[in-house]
Amino acid sequence: MIRVEAISVVFNAGTALQQRLFENFSLEIPSGQFITVIGSNGAGKSTLLNVIAGELPVAAGRVVIGERDVTALSASERAGLVARVFQDPRAGTCETLTVEENLALAAGRGGRRGLRLALNRERRQRFRGELERLGLGLENRLTDQLGQLSGGQRQATSLLMAAIQPMQILLLDEHVAALDPRTAAYVLDLTRRIITEHGLTALMVTHSMRHALALGERTVMLHEGRIVLDVTGPERARMRVADLIARFRAQHGEELDSDSLLLA
């Protein structure tokens, strides 16, 4: 479960560039729910994600993950509860480390890191098994530097890294935006598989209205730090992309930036 309670976020506090994004914003995601979040640029999608992950502090309010108040915890301290996949394939992985080293780093998430070797036979075997299931042939490239993989292979590895340790919630930050359509479809399918398999509470931020409706069981639309649409169940099942756009216009009476929202 994720509960964001009455949070406020202030950027550049105390300077001339001070800017508020969220004000008294709340959102509750029940355990095991897979929610998609859409909104135009600057709507606060990534900010929401960063607040939950602990990369951004809140000026007011609480963040609760599971039954735990994590408001005061840093990103690294929340890592035992939160797994994250980034938009940029380069952001979620370490390109100078090898494939197996990246996986080993993720396998240490939430635990204590000591002076034992990060890789051993047992771990390599486990990683090879996990990589085999991706069906990308990565099980033969354990010792390749991650920077040598393609964007899709890297995102798939990112997902695997996210799922390699038990966690409470999975955060997906437009994680297929940088991929070509075929690879995006593969990674989305993999996402669905991993979420179902582990029964994860997941939050996926996306630019694509189509993906927002096709995946998960609930869709939230953000605009200027507010929730302007929150649909689930039969109402959502009946919705088409065109309905979403109509709802968006009804809310704002403004023209949609047609490119990314419509075409993606």
């Binding site: 990369e55 890592a79 035992g80 939160v82 980034f86 480390l97 000591g114």
Partner: protein, 299 residues
């Protein structure tokens, strides 16, 4: 060049390989340009010299130098992390401050160690003939340090440290406390440099407040030169290249200073070093990550 001066260059090379490994850790692994070493090298020398003169066991005095170097590194990391001083500037501040600290500590610009017990005395009885004793001893020290260091980089903590330098956001998302690892990395790097300073003072028979000048560039020459001489990608190879680079550098400098036709004197070492670093960067191409990184940023 005589065999004795060649051996002298090699033993200095082994000692400075500790500096090179430290610089590899800060510059390459953590992407933290740390100039503290110009201060922590003579700091280690000063601590050891003062303690040996006070009658301490040389090994205890050497251990104290390692601790002193670690402290210096922690100060730089603290300035950067907590007080948000730019990393390069933080290290320069520590380095400058240490110059005064060293003179206070030694109650003057230098402390001679002639006739005092040093770590080398502990192996004097092994029957190794004189000119070979110091190189052999420092070879063993460098080998042990290299092995421990390379093990560390492959450990869980070492992996977290490498991720911290390469991609801090990703590292934090995987539960790595990046700030602690920057503290740890700088402590290790400067601890090794303090050890090098301590050993160098015991070898040359004095600690000197100005002996730290150019430590950073000598270490960088070893790191960059080593990568050019031994163009490998594996971590084991890269760290081995630091040690090798340090020895090669010192031999080249000794050759240059010994070649009477060139007419160079000891004070010309710095310009020779600067030239060597430039040449290594020019011809190292992609093999030297420092050059490659600079290219990557420019594009």
């Amino acid at each position: 060049m005589s065999i004795v001066s060649l051996l002298g260059a090699i033993e200095a090379g082994f000692i400075y390989s500790l500096v090179a490994l430290g610089i590899f850790l800060t510059f390459r692994v953590l992407s933290f340009p740390d100039l503290t070493v110009d201060g922590s090298f003579p700091f280690g020398a000063a601590i050891t010299a003062v303690l040996i003169v006070k009658g301490w066991n040389p090994y205890l005095a050497t251990t104290a130098a390692i601790a002193g170097g670690c402290m210096a590194g922690l100060v730089t990391a603290y300035l950067n992390i907590r007080l948000r001083v730019l990393n390069l500037l933080a290290s320069i501040l520590t380095m400058i401050a240490l110059y005064s600290v060293n003179i206070r500590l030694m109650e003057g610009p230098m402390v001679p160690l002639l006739g005092q017990a040093t770590v080398l005395d502990s192996v004097a009885g092994l029957g190794i003939p004189y000119p070979w004793l110091a190189p052999a001893y420092f070879l063993v020290v460098a080998a042990i340090a290299w092995a421990l260091y390379t093990w560390f980089l492959h450990s869980e903590t070492g992996l977290a440290l490498r991720a911290t330098g390469a991609n801090p956001v990703m590292a934090r998302a995987n539960g790595v406390r990046t700030q602690r690892l920057v503290l740890l990395g700088l402590a290790i790097a400067n601890g090794m440099t303090g050890l090098a300073g301590s050993l160098f003072a015991q070898l040359q028979g004095a600690a000197d407040a100005s002996m730290g000048i150019g430590t950073i560039i000598i270490g960088l020459a070893a790191v960059i030169g080593g990568a050019a001489v031994l163009p490998v990608r594996s971590l084991v190879g890269l760290t081995l290249a630091c040690v090798l680079g340090s020895v090669v550098y010192h031999v080249i400098v000794a050759l240059a200073l010994n070649a009477t036709t060139l007419g160079l004197t000891a004070s010309d070492v710095n310009i020779v070093t600067a030239a060597l670093v430039c040449v290594a960067l020019m011809f190292g191409g992609r093999a030297t990550a420092l050059g490659a990184r600079a290219q990557g940023k420019a594009t």
